[in-house]
Symmetry: C2
Subunit: 336 residues, 2 copies
């Protein structure tokens, strides 16, 4: 086996001291001849020398790492969110340690500990399943700042906020305006805070119009395409004119189930989703939904956690990102 | 700021020596009383003590990390592939360092160096854009074993193989059997080896039936939904009866473009894809495609690289995974 190229190997080949190499590679190259600087950089490339990170991070007590925990990297919402984080992290010389918990609490806990073990400087945790005070306890005791999305924090902290309640309101107003009064909702069995807020906003608007949505019109399933598909039958029981799927993945699953039930969207039944994943523009009919700025949410989360890492005592900051209703083809106007 | 809980803190609280704590937490607990062992574990949980990983990994010169580089974590094929890697890694006490290069060569190179800096024990690189000998050079010089998928390796090495040539053959035979002779292919502008093999298998079968597919019937685009959508117009120029999309994402993009062109699938035009991402079962009509065992491919890649990390001198191993054609609704039998 080849051994890792060391700074000594490089110095020997360049015929200079280890100190010289170290200073040049750390950007302190003004005290050396242009020729030497060039030679050292050239040899670094040729020999593939990479400074040893663990030695560095032990000195700094920092891995220049942000631990990122999401429930499901298969959901395009989260893969865009991750790309937003990645882009800011990279610009700042950090890398994200990405973990998908697959909605499994044991895995979530395992990855939380791994992030600490690997000296993550901070953490971003999206849609945690674990009890938030459990997470808070572990991370606080290890002095690791963190940022939660989709869950209420234990104490004050930095926040990336999108107004989920308002998103629910927008959809409800839109459906009512199109004449829909008999509506079914398909949501998660164990909804996180953001989902609860969406639903509350939605129900409040219906109630304010004197229209009520009974408990049996709220169907619980998993937040996936398959979850939506499986929920179809129950969602159709009360013969709704429209269905509100709490995320787009569920809506895509309902599309299939409704097609198999021999009904047409939107002629026989209307559907709205939530998230605006790219797929919503490709399905037929295209899906009316709430656009969430997933990439920007990732960027903001990364920026806030980096600022917090650099200054633990700075005042808490809250970033609020706008959402909007994107009208496409999946809702029929049934006002006669 | 709270400081990271140390082993000394824990020992003090447990009223035992640091050595005792260390041995108990390393599983050497048979020399201590049950009460002591229980107390130490209990306090570890309560205090959130996590052993310092960088110190450990400096001693072992191992980060118990597998660097994983994929072009696009938004493609469900790769997110399943990653979950396969994750599952094997976790069972073996490793974690994957996941990097998405977004098909950007500079980013790919950056992440390659980051993996080395962070003492990755091995790497799995899927669909690399960079020159393979460049990758080989950097990783070899740093003594890091790696496994490539979708590209030919520079020298002999471990392999996870699916027979892409055969996949192309299966699709061609299927289309010909359904009466399709005028076919357009939509592929990547810079195809990796696996895509080239798919295409060659496909073209060879057509040629063996005395049917030729001219160069202008091969449309180049990006391997994404948007790429497929943009390619639609050109794909329809020669008035094909069927289109072979080199991956399912392209096929989904074509679905939209074809719908907007006022044509129906499969009545007016048939489509086949490649990968069998979960979406293929949800679109209407469901997509006929080649099933790739993406999760198992990730598992096999992780198993092979872990074996290689543990024994550099073991004989090279090649794992071949089966593919199959999944017949759904997107191809019409046009034999009269």
């Amino acid at each position: 086996m080849t051994k890792k190229v060391t700074i000594t190997d490089l110095a020997k080949r360049a015929n200079v001291s280890v100190t010289t190499v170290s200073q040049i590679l750390n950007g302190k190259d003004d005290r050396f001849s242009e020729k030497t600087v060039k030679k050292v950089h050239q040899l670094q490339k040729e020999m593939g020398y990479v400074p040893d990170f663990n030695a560095q991070s032990l000195i700094r007590r920092s891995g220049r790492t942000i631990g990122v925990l999401v429930p499901n990297i298969n959901n395009p919402f989260f893969s865009h969110f991750l790309r937003g984080i990645e882009s800011v992290a990279m610009d700042n010389g950090y890398i994200p340690l990405i973990f998908g918990s697959n909605n499994n609490q044991k895995l979530e806990s395992y990855y939380l500990f791994e992030s600490i073990r690997r000296a993550a400087d901070g953490m971003i945790i999206a849609s945690a399943i674990s009890d938030v005070s459990y997470i808070d306890n572990i991370l606080n005791q290890n002095g690791i700042p963190y940022l939660l999305t989709d869950q209420a924090p234990v104490a004050d902290g930095d926040q990336v906020d999108v107004n989920n309640y308002h998103g629910g309101e927008l959809l409800a107003n839109y459906l009512i305006q199109k004449g829909h009064q008999r509506v079914t909702v398909v949501t998660d069995q164990h909804p996180t805070l953001n989902l609860k807020q969406r639903l509350t906003g939605f129900l409040d608007v219906f109630r304010s119009h004197g229209l009520s949505i009974a408990d049996e019109q709220i169907v619980e399933t998993e937040l996936t395409k398959l979850g939506g598909y499986h929920a179809t039958k129950q969602a159709l029981v009360h013969n709704p004119t429209a269905i509100f799927a709490l995320n787009d993945e569920i809506a895509i699953g309902l599309y299939r189930g409704i097609h198999e039930a021999g009904l047409r969207i939107p002629d026989d039944i209307s559907i709205v989703g939530y998230d605006d994943i790219d797929l919503t523009e490709y399905v037929t009919p295209t899906l009316t939904t709430i656009h969430q700025p997933s990439f920007e949410m990732g960027e903001s989360a990364a920026k806030l956690i980096l600022k917090r890492i650099q200054d633990r005592d700075r005042p808490f900051q809250s970033v609020s990102l706008p959402i909007e209703l994107v009208e496409r083809e999946s809702v029929k106007n049934i006002n006669s």
